[in-house]
Amino acid sequence: MWGLREVTALERPPTDLIDRVVERLAGVLRPDQILTAKTDRYNRARVPAPFPVHRWRERVPDLAVLPESTEEVAAVVAIANELKCPVVPRDGGTGLTDGAVPLRGGIVVDVKRMNQIHELDLENRTVTVGTGINMLKLNEVLGKHGLIYPDDPASYPCSLVGGRIGTSGWSLIGARYGHTRDLVLSFDLVLPTGEILHVGDGIGRQISKSSSGYQLKHLFMGHQGTLGIATKATLKLYPKPEAELSPFWAFDDYDAAYRFTGALARAGVATFAGAVLFDEWKVAYLRRDDEAYIPQPADVRALTCAVLYGWEDEVRVGGKRLFRIAKEHGARYLGDEISEGDWAARHDRYATPLHGRTKSGQVVPMSWHCEDAAVNYTRVPAVTKAWHEIVADLRRKTDVFDDWGMFAYTSADTGVDYLTEIDVGIWEQRLDDDAWAMWVRAKRDIAAAALAHGGSISACHGSCREGEVDLVPRELGRGFDVMLGVKRMLDPNNIMNPGKYLLDLAYQGGDLAARLAELRGEA
């Protein structure tokens, strides 16, 4: 198969080019903003997603820079474009599809110093921030004004606003408040040529809906750093909720929990911020290692949780409606302690120390990986079954992989589709080339199963990592050809995060149509 490895053959900038880049950067940045030490570069080489660590060196950038303004980012990118040196934007580095991983060396643009709050508009309920700010730190300030920016990923304490834009992130409480695409009103973006562009609805900074011109904001979200670097963003704010309710219910079997989850999502409760379905594998995994679930009786086999935010009187009324639905479905309330504790822990899943088990039950150190997809409610059970079969096949072959179960999260307030995810423990120290190839095939199969059921490869992480990326031309159809055209037009020298999303195809000669047909399985 004509796959990713062929189009991303390692090409690093020659040493003399890097020397020239560093020399030119010294004209636009202070010395302390240009990092060339080994530790600075190696620490910006990977993201949490497990990968073959013996190949770490392939992902190390040649240098990193720490710009402090849009103008400095623009100056860096203009130099890189002129000298044809790769540039990789890096925000929190918490993504799971390698968006921030340099595949061709070059310059990592680390935006963490652009973490200022530039303007808080209490009347229009917006805040304008540097994209290097973290949502938790931002909300500590906003909370003093009774406000919240409710973008709430599982990496909430460590991911940054800019990375959320680059990923077009998904939020745990998006069914109530919307996801990153809904919450970011506008932003400044440095294009691959070094030009500065402002995108929003129309040209407005604080406009939530415009019909003027093409809707460019979405084009520049979710591109995984291939179309530019967001530097300053204006965000929509809400009142900080007066009350939170997060009940967890138990079921004897998955089917009952699935039906109940759908009923909650379809109930039309205004303060409903989301529901999460835990399948039998997830409950078995938690029962093995999570203090809240170890004591649960054996007939707890699947779970549903819901969360509501808003004014106390609204949450009470909505909550009682959900509890009445729970009674109709025979749901068993798990109690206040586990309900509140588990929900609070969901805001911070990256801080969990992880281990898995060999087939004989021995504990081994494992890293966490999560494959996700967007799937309609009616297809969730079939995708769940297909994904477990794929991971079970891996597990039969090797102890490197461990099935940690699946969640399905509501994406919208109507229950139309779900972020479906399977968590897989991976023994990274044992992830040799053979095991990695096995994993890449499994990732491709997981993505294919989502597509076969009418879903999208990713609701949350993006789909530019080895394995799933091969299926993006199939998923997007002619839309992928448009992606190639946009990339070629905006990044004429392919300097912005090269090697991602198969976009190198935009620059290669030969019979592109034949190659795309092969990737789409049409050849």
């Binding site: 007066e242 203090e291 004591p295 009470r316 509140e340 281990h355 088990r357 504990v363």
Partner: protein, 86 residues
Amino acid sequence: MSYRYSDEHAPPAPQRASEVAVTTHEHVFEVDPRLMERWVLQQTFPNWDTLRIMHARHDHLDWMHAHFAQKTITGSDLIAEIENEA
């Protein structure tokens, strides 16, 4: 914290909590030591540190609740209200 070193290194006798877990201090669960004999060996912690970690987790969860909302409504409250209304 105990005055004697030996006291801090004598946790309560483990009780079986499941097929793969034991419990020592109240609310403190540990992997069954028989499952940590080859690839990862079980570490020993003084009692004060074990309890500090457990309490720190609760502090973290309380902080998270307060960060996202001013108060938490409990499910048991709502169940009681529904029963009273019936």
